[in-house]
């Protein structure tokens, strides 16, 4: 990349000229080009922290999300292992008969619909995420020619939010259907786990919806392209993970009771 676009001395000084669409990243185009070749011995990795190109903060945020999700995975794995133990924990009663109180909880059919909705929402959020990284539009937006990618991403993010809310509503209906059949959290070992799993997952999804709303606000308000990208990207990964967790948990509830 010719040094006329990226004079090195401006690389070294940390200025943030947002009007100039320079978010302190050396006024580099926000595309994920690995430089270092092309004759200019100017490798982004040789730069001091915080000036290694546009994807640096993004990668950092992604890393954090992935570690958080790993912890979350352990959380659900712990619950699932408890599920297996409790499921097959019978006992010998006074008359030496083997008793296992575990009665499988019927899955309300609406949960299948919810699952479909959640998968669909995963697709929409992925589309939104892809939009944020379409290279030419990113370049336009970075050059200040309107906000093409943000504008095209907003409807998809909102769609995801709506679908997420639909999912939660569907779960609510499922719970109330079970309540109508007098199946509650406390009813039976299997219902303990059904409600525990659906509730905890719903809480996670609620957090996800909060993140989506924050993202929407950010898309409107934030003046930095990078922030907007990070918001959408991390929310999308979190949302995907929640979808994946739900597939496993739902399969567990449907097939392994």
């Amino acid at each position: 990349m010719p040094p006329t676009i990226t004079p090195l001395n401006t690389e070294r000084e940390k200025k943030r000229r947002i009007e100039d669409h320079d978010s302190g990243h050396g006024r580099r185009p926000p595309t994920d080009k690995r430089t270092g070749g092309g004759g200019d011995n100017d490798n982004w990795n040789d730069r001091p922290q915080g000036r290694r190109g546009p994807r640096e903060n993004l990668g950092r945020a992604r890393l954090a999300i992935f570690f958080a999700l790993a912890g979350d995975l352990m959380f659900f794995v712990a619950i699932v292992s408890a599920f297996f133990v409790s499921q097959s924990s019978g006992r010998y009663n006074a008359y030496n008969q083997y008793i296992n109180e575990w009665l499988p909880t019927v899955i309300p059919p609406i949960l299948w619909l919810n699952t479909a909705i959640l998968l669909l929402s995963s697709v929409t959020v992925e589309i939104a995420r892809r939009h944020m990284f379409r290279e030419n539009d990113v370049m336009d937006e970075w050059l200040g020619l309107g906000k093409p990618i943000t504008r095209s991403a907003i409807p998809w993010v909102s769609a995801t939010t709506v679908l997420g809310l639909l999912f939660l509503a569907g779960q609510w209906i499922g719970w109330s259907q079970l309540a109508a059949e007098h199946v509650f959290f406390r009813s039976n070992p299997s219902s303990h786990f059904f409600f525990l799993i659906t509730y905890t997952h719903a809480i996670h999804l609620f957090l996800g919806i909060t993140a989506l709303t924050v993202t929407l606000v950010g898309l409107y308000k934030s003046r930095q392209l990078e922030t907007r990208q990070i918001l959408v990207d991390c929310t999308a990964w979190y949302w995907h993970a929640m979808g994946l967790f739900w597939i496993f948990l739902f399969a567990l509830l449907v097939f392994f009771q």
Partner: protein, 250 residues
């Protein structure tokens, strides 16, 4: 009383394991002693190396030769492996297999904060217990079901009376919280867990009275949840059993 006095008192008294009164205890003690000697040796060796190394004249640093780095590790690995094998074999001997069917069956129940010992009586079967029927006030602390024919001749004691040199099979149960059943002199320790019946078996040898302690935090009375084991000669035990059973008959 002054610290010095107590140092003297401590040093004068023999601080060691309580006397052993069980069959498997002897081997356990030997293995424990072996371990203690080994770690004492390793402890002194390591500290000697450390101190000598610190005191001697400065030289150029050790190159990490394999014989400094890996040989000691290999030796330690071998040592630990041997200890593990020995320990596992002892553990297998005492726990992998159940008690001999002819063993004396006794049910031990832990309740905040007491131990109850139930003997099956002449029919050699324990009567049914139901938690709904538990009524310590009416002399039924374990909730024995009177309608069950087996329960008529069961009798409950507050001290564990055993014959010497006969294997005992304890059925450990807990009514409320986790308790730890432990007889230090028998080198025996096993938790009693609510909802589980855990078997542990051993053979007392020397007659005498020994302590039963609760070794798992079970509430504010934990420190006083003790009982007594009385090991009798077989003849005495038969006599004791006879009197108890006569008393138990309706």
């Amino acid at each position: 009383m002054s610290p010095i006095f107590h140092t003297a008192a401590v040093l004068s008294l023999p601080w060691w394991l309580p006397s052993n009164a069980s069959v498997h205890g002897a081997t356990l003690d030997r293995h424990l002693l072996l371990n203690l000697w080994i770690i004492l040796a390793l402890l002194t060796l390591a500290h000697l190396l450390l101190i000598v190394g610190l005191l001697r004249r400065r030289t150029t640093e050790l190159k990490d030769l394999w014989r400094i780095e890996y040989l000691p590790l290999a030796i330690l690995a071998l040592l630990f492996a041997l200890l593990t094998v020995k320990a596992e074999s002892l553990w297998a001997a005492s726990r992998y297999t159940g008690a001999d069917p002819a063993a004396l069956q006794i049910e031990v129940t832990g309740v905040q904060f007491a131990w109850y010992f139930r003997y099956p009586g002449t029919d050699a079967t324990f009567g049914v217990t139901k938690p709904q029927l538990v009524a310590p006030g009416e002399g039924n602390p374990l909730g024995i079901d009177p309608t069950d024919p087996h329960s008529a001749d069961d009798f409950i004691t507050s001290e564990l009376v055993l014959p010497a040199n006969r294997e005992v099979d304890l059925h450990l149960r807990a009514q409320d919280v986790i308790h730890g059943f432990s007889i230090p002199e028998m080198r025996l320790k096993q938790n009693a867990v609510p909802g589980h019946t855990i078997h542990v078996h051993f053979t007392p040898t020397t007659p005498g009275t020994y302590a039963v302690l609760c070794t798992q935090l079970c509430g504010l009375g934990h420190y006083r949840m003790n009982a007594t084991v009385r090991v009798l000669s077989p003849a005495e035990f038969a006599q004791w059993l006879a009197t108890k059973q006569k008393a138990a008959q309706p």
